[in-house]
């Protein structure tokens, strides 16, 4: 039979098994260390995104190796490539299907600003249709640059008032 533990004071039996922290810190720790990406690979930048997933650069070191092709299981959309106007509505739909909390990395010049494609066919920056958290410069960015973006995003998420947001939601 299990009885309720009414003991409030120090208990030497659970020493080392209990950690005191803030809810924000715990929630953000969970979020930052398992940020599953939605690989929105649309052009050449997606090749570098694949390199980041490979053994040499190994995005698994940051807990983000689980590329989810279902937006409902993903936390962070990595827009890697040129977003055409034809594709833009689909990018927005997929973003809408991701469950909150969700973040976006715009990888490369194209996703950030339209890049060199100053033309009738290309969306001039994916931030016109979805909110972007981190922009990565480069054409294409080095894999290290994407890892840096991921770390920047983790730093940003760590500062979020997660608990109060959850309670007010």
């Amino acid at each position: 039979m299990v009885t309720a533990n009414t003991e409030l004071g120090y208990n030497s039996k659970v020493e080392g098994g209990v950690i005191i922290s803030k809810a924000d810190a715990v929630i953000n720790w969970i979020r930052t260390e398992s940020m599953w990406p939605m690989p929105m690979g649309l052009a050449c930048c997606a090749i570098e995104l694949m390199a980041v997933g490979g053994a040499r650069f190994d995005i698994a070191r940051f807990g983000a190796e689980v590329m989810r092709f279902s937006p409902r299981q993903a936390d962070c959309m990595i827009v890697a490539g040129t977003v055409t106007y034809k594709m833009a509505p689909q990018v927005r739909r997929i973003y809408d299907q991701m469950s909150a909390p969700k973040w976006v990395i715009a990888m490369g010049a194209c996703a950030s600003s339209g890049g060199m494609y100053r033309s009738y066919a290309t969306l001039q920056g994916v931030d016109r249709i979805i909110p972007v958290d981190v922009y990565v410069s480069g054409c294409p960015p080095r894999p290290e640059a994407l890892l840096d973006a991921l770390m920047k995003l983790q730093a940003k998420v760590r500062r979020e008032p997660a608990a109060s947001r959850l309670l007010s939601a």
């Binding site: 833009a88 509505p89 927005r92 100053r118 033309s119 009738y120 001039q124 016109r128």
Partner: protein, 216 residues
């Protein structure tokens, strides 16, 4: 081998004429002879591969305005290529040409692209839809009067446009289009750059939509 084919083609189709070309031989044929001429070349002269099919816009006011061009290759004789060109029929705004999907199935997507980019209707095409731009896009971007930056119009999906407040805009050209300088020995000088640098993102060209500021 192409030369013999051209001679034979001209004997078969007396209205065919030589066409100036920088590399492979090229022949003009009247639009009415086009399909028969291509069929003859395919069946009797061994030009079994349609490598490419494209069109030329001779600019507004030119008559005829559009020309379709077929790039043929004889795979049994390597390097034997031939180009066939024909001026389109119909008014400038709605040119037409016969479809050759019956001769080469691969012409299907080429003709769709030509239709998408130039607005040439291929009569007899089984499924003439846009292939690069979305259905409902109002322009044909490779026509000479269409600006590279594009023309402001609606996004392909109405509810996304409503939610995001974003439209298809004329792209900010930042002094572009960017043109490479040919004949430069120094590669840095040969890099593509804007020839007209009198305006930029901060000083927009008159008539262009200004770049929207970044969202918070």
């Amino acid at each position: 081998m192409s030369a013999a084919a051209v001679t034979a083609l001209k004997a078969q189709f007396p209205q065919a004429t030589d066409r100036a070309s920088a590399d492979h031989l090229a022949v003009n044929v009247p639009l009415g002879d086009l399909v028969l001429a291509l069929k003859y070349l395919r069946d009797a002269r061994g030009f079994d591969l349609l490598m490419d099919m494209t069109a030329i816009d001779w600019a507004e006011g030119a008559s005829p305005r559009f020309t379709v061009v077929y790039h043929l290759l004889a795979t049994s004789e390597p390097g034997t290529a031939l180009r066939i060109a024909a001026n389109c029929a119909g008014p400038d705004a709605a040119p037409t040409a016969p479809s050759v999907v019956g001769l080469w199935a691969g012409a299907n997507w080429h003709e769709r692209e030509c239709f998408d980019m130039f607005g040439i209707t291929f009569i007899g095409h089984p499924d003439l839809r846009r292939i690069l731009m979305w259905d409902g896009y109002p322009y044909h971007p490779l026509r000479k009067e269409f600006p590279l930056a594009g023309i402001e119009t609606d996004l392909p999906v109405a509810d996304i446009e409503e939610v995001t407040g974003t439209r298809v805009i004329a792209a900010p050209m930042a002094g572009g289009p960017f043109v490479a300088s040919t004949g430069e020995v120094n590669l840095t000088d040969a890099e593509p750059r804007a020839k007209d640098e009198s305006w930029s993102d901060r000083q927009p060209q008159p008539g262009q939509t200004e770049l929207r500021q970044m969202k918070d």
